[in-house]
């Protein structure tokens, strides 16, 4: 044992010294993660692009090269147009709700007060709960016969006809509204958390300076807190856009794209075409229509990160 260690000493020492230098150690620690990422994200992504340019069908991983045919065919489909429009409405409507509410909630939730732990638990519940399960809760809330909303509006308040109550998930416009509300409900706590993170990073000197200059209440909110919160609001918005535009679960569990494809999104439509109809190539092309949106978001994020670095 002793002899063995002695014999390998020079080699292991050199090896060890190499590990002391940042130039070797940093890549050695980072590369495994990067390689893994390339394998499990890069390869499938490349494959998705390849598939979108072929006529591959379900059950195979390749097909004949068809150029941009899939993108053109998909674009010509009415349901695709609807899905594209819905995705944009879904994303921007729910994010508008989220941003406004998150600004208000975080402004108050960042303070200390009695019962904060419990109120915060209630507020973050929608974010902590598994999406598909929380959405089933909404399925029950929107139930066609026993919707608690309809009971409250009809039996308790007399605002709607109890014999023919609104079918929240059964009418095109109502259903689109429902998925927007449910998704905003789910993303809001996450945005609140990011806002709080942003507020927490505002140095306390700013607070003191504002106090000395006499900025309090609404004035402080408008001229001090909100401008300082703008960068973090942008981060929350970018996250929100990506998570919403790419969401599949909420829409699938609530409506499966129905009624009459009125809540079809790019994600559910690509699932419908790629898996259910088995046109793997076209399905991949449909999901790739999301990419420009995500690319823009990423670029904005990079620019923002560089600015944050400079200042």
């Amino acid at each position: 044992m002793e002899a063995g260690t002695a014999r390998f000493e020079p080699g292991s020492r050199r090896w060890r010294r190499a590990f002391e230098s940042r130039r070797v150690l940093a890549p050695a620690l980072i590369v495994p993660a990067v390689v893994f990422m390339v394998l499990v994200v890069g390869v499938p992504f490349g494959w998705a692009i390849y598939l979108s340019l072929t006529d591959a069908v379900g059950g195979s991983l390749s097909g004949n090269w068809v150029g941009f045919d899939n993108f053109i065919t998909a674009w010509g489909d009415d349901n695709f147009q609807k899905a594209l429009r819905n995705t944009l409405i879904f994303t921007f409507a729910s994010q508008a709700i989220v941003l406004v509410c998150a600004a208000v909630v975080s402004h108050y939730l960042v303070r200390d007060f009695r019962g904060k732990w419990f109120l915060r638990l209630l507020i973050i519940l929608p974010w902590a709960a598994p999406v598909s399960l929380a959405t089933i809760g909404w399925l029950w809330i929107f139930d066609s016969l026993f919707s608690v909303i309809n009971w409250t509006l009809g039996h308790a308040l007399g605002l709607v006809d109890t014999a023919d109550p609104p079918q929240w998930l059964g009418r095109p416009n109502l259903a689109l509204m429902a998925v927007i509300v449910v998704h905003a409900w789910r993303i809001l706590p996450f945005a609140v958390v990011i806002f709080i993170a942003g507020l927490a990073s505002i140095p306390s000197e700013v607070d003191d300076a504002a106090k000395i200059d006499g900025a309090t209440g609404i004035k402080k909110l408008l001229y001090v807190t909100l401008p300082l919160q703008l960068p973090i609001a942008l981060v929350a918005l970018l996250f929100g856009i990506v998570f919403t535009a790419a969401d599949f679960t909420v829409v699938y569990v609530l409506t499966q794209g129905g009624p009459f494809n009125s809540t079809q999104m790019l994600t559910t439509w690509s699932f419908q075409i790629g898996i259910n109809s088995g046109s793997l190539g076209e399905g991949a092309a449909i999901s790739l229509y999301l990419f420009p949106l995500l690319a823009v978001v990423s670029i904005v994020m990079l620019l923002f990160a560089r600015r944050a670095q400079v200042s």
Binding site: R22, A48, R114, P130, T135, L280
Partner: protein
């Protein structure tokens, strides 16, 4: 006290709206059929069917999912997948997060953001090729045909790190940046190698941060839907997030009490964990972005 009043006035309505579906789940899961499916009853409370209201509540729908369905199996599967994925994630993300925070100077920041952008590549962009690749991998020699990767929890364990590693690396980078450099320098002067300093000083101090990453990475796995949905079709191999919507909802027959029990239990457990680790999460999240 008067200064706190606006806080309560604003936050309470938000809390009620946000938490309402979970209150609704909780009320529903203990209801008798007669109480639940009657439009004359007030749905928010238990309506007495017998003489006393507690006789109108029942736990039979809750015990049903544990005894008569695959629900316990799904919970176990979820736990197994989550634990395995978290372990894999830490193996890759701990070194990477540390190196990005400490060793890689200027390009470390850019690399960190690069890794984080990978987190923004959504599963909905990847699930079509991913589900096919998993099937093909299952056909490789050496993998038993009947028990190929498809329909196997191992498929999920292979795929889930694709989003947990970038997420965890970013958070860990934030945590490591908050640890004073002097502590490490002292250890290095005392004759520790960098790796030793990492294992003996940095990781132990970062334990709360690491635990936070464990919780949130685990939660990401519990949440995941589309991969589990497209890769696993047999009921026994499902996780809770796909098992409940796929196998507990059968056609138009909903047994709402059981469904609500199945959704409420994991939700409240995760929410309690989130709430306990939220402050640390916020620290790690900002630590990575703004110093």
């Amino acid at each position: 006290m008067r200064r706190k009043l606006p806080t309560y006035l604003v936050l309470t309505p938000f809390a009620i709206v946000l938490a309402f579906p979970f209150y609704w789940m909780l009320v529903t899961m203990f209801k008798e059929d007669l109480d639940l499916y009657s439009a004359d009853n007030v749905p928010y409370v238990y309506n007495p069917l017998q003489w006393t209201f507690w006789e109108s509540a029942t736990t039979k729908h809750v015990t049903f999912i544990f005894e008569e369905t695959n629900y316990p199996t799904w919970l176990l599967n979820t736990f197994f997948v989550g634990a395995a994925v978290v372990a894999i994630t830490l193996v890759f993300a701990l070194p990477a997060g540390y190196a990005l925070a400490r060793l890689a100077g200027r390009w470390g920041q850019s690399a960190g953001i690069g890794i984080f952008l990978v987190y923004l590549v959504p599963p909905t962009l990847l699930f079509l090729p991913m589900s096919r690749l998993i099937v093909e991998l299952g056909r490789l020699p050496g993998i038993d045909d009947d028990r190929g990767l498809q329909n196997s929890l191992w498929a999920l364990i292979l795929v889930y790190p694709s989003f947990t590693i970038p997420f965890a690396t970013w958070l860990l980078m934030g945590f490591f940046k908050t640890i004073p450099q002097e502590l490490e320098d002292a250890a290095l002067i005392d004759g520790c190698s960098r790796i030793q300093a990492l294992l003996r000083i940095v990781f132990p101090i970062s334990l709360p941060g690491i635990l936070t990453v464990v919780i949130f990475a685990f939660a990401l796995c519990v949440n995941e839907f589309i991969y589990a949905f497209t890769m696993i079709s047999s009921s026994e191999a499902r996780t809770v997030s796909t098992g409940v919507p796929n196998d507990l909802i059968r056609g138009d027959v909903f047994f709402w009490q059981s469904l609500m029990a199945a959704t409420f239990i994991p939700s409240i457990v995760l929410a309690l964990l989130y709430n306990s680790f939220l402050d640390r999460f916020i620290k790690g999240f900002t630590g990575g972005a703004f110093r």
